[in-house]
Symmetry: C2
């Protein structure tokens, strides 16, 4: 998505060819107009996926996931919480996610009530790097006996291996800004649908 | 907002005349169509507020705040994080918020970069009860030398006192579902604009 790539080049901050900060329009302050267009684009790409529900993980994936759900015909939007499971045994599905930037492992959870066998789930998140968050969400989907029909990502750092892990599982992965390398302070983009 | 009140009566779960759970359409799984209409309604109510930015706190206030920002002409949307301040001294404004349901006190923070003197901030959140979260957000706004031009709430429990505290500060508070009492397992609604 050209407009997103341009915005990343304009306002993204690349630190030590390793961490890309997009706080000013995605992670902290949200550019609502751009996010709405991102949702429209992900909805266009996944319109024939058969998705019955959109799943994301709090917090910063939520706006793009919301916009995607809206343009897929107001699908229900479910978000996994980054928190220890409820003490009520058996109420939640839980998975473990390793944070790339913070170097910690955290549980995510979703209520069993809202993830049912047979549902077709589109995962949407803001970043795909090592794939940890998306794999955690996929784990929740599989525990529920639901089916993941695709993974829609705002910004992908392909060189961190997440795409390969998801594609190995037969999943369609589409990112709106597909970054192939950080090199000498420059961001290199690859193909996007 | 009639449609929201009806949905609360249909799908809300009232526990011990004290806690209202709306997990199935606001807090965990989001009804995108309803949320979009809530944003449209809050935008209608605050269209003359002069707001230049919408502020909320993660996580479940985010969808309604997003929709409100969208219908206010794609205003930037800022969300405070529930996390300890960055170690970078002076990078954030922070405030303390006491959670009514969880009975703990947590810091919220927002980067100084995105909250500037002179900005006109509309606070949007999913719940107003004791007012702790809204007062925390207001504290951040005041620390920045910005101005709060209103507080838009999805569900208010007026009897918990939050409205009174905010109105004492001269703020306009509007809730889409204005609950005046929980009584014998019944939810009583008051006036909504």
């Amino acid at each position: 998505m050209k407009k997103l790539e341009e915005r990343i080049l304009k306002d993204g901050v690349l630190i030590e060819d390793r961490i890309l900060k997009v706080d000013s329009f995605i992670n902290f302050q949200i550019d609502v107009e751009l996010t709405d267009e991102m949702g429209m684009e992900l909805a266009r790409i996944f319109k024939d996926s058969g998705a019955t529900k959109v799943l994301t993980v709090e917090t910063s994936g939520l706006p793009a996931a919301y916009a995607t759900a809206k343009y897929l015909g107001n699908l229900p939007l479910l978000f996994a919480k980054k928190a220890k499971p409820n003490t009520d045994i058996g109420e939640d599905y839980t998975a473990m996610v390793r944070s790339f930037t913070k170097e910690v492992v955290n549980p995510i959870r979703v209520s069993r009530k809202y993830l049912q066998p047979g549902e077709k789930i589109l995962i949407v998140d803001d970043f795909l790097a090592s794939g940890a968050a998306s794999l955690g969400l996929l784990d929740l989907v599989e525990q529920a006996g639901a089916e993941c029909v695709g993974v829609g990502i705002v910004i992908e750092k392909e060189f961190q291996g997440g795409r390969a892990l998801l594609e190995e599982k037969g999943l369609r992965v589409v990112s709106l800004a597909h970054i192939t390398a950080f090199k000498d302070g420059k961001i290199e983009f690859g193909y996007t649908e």
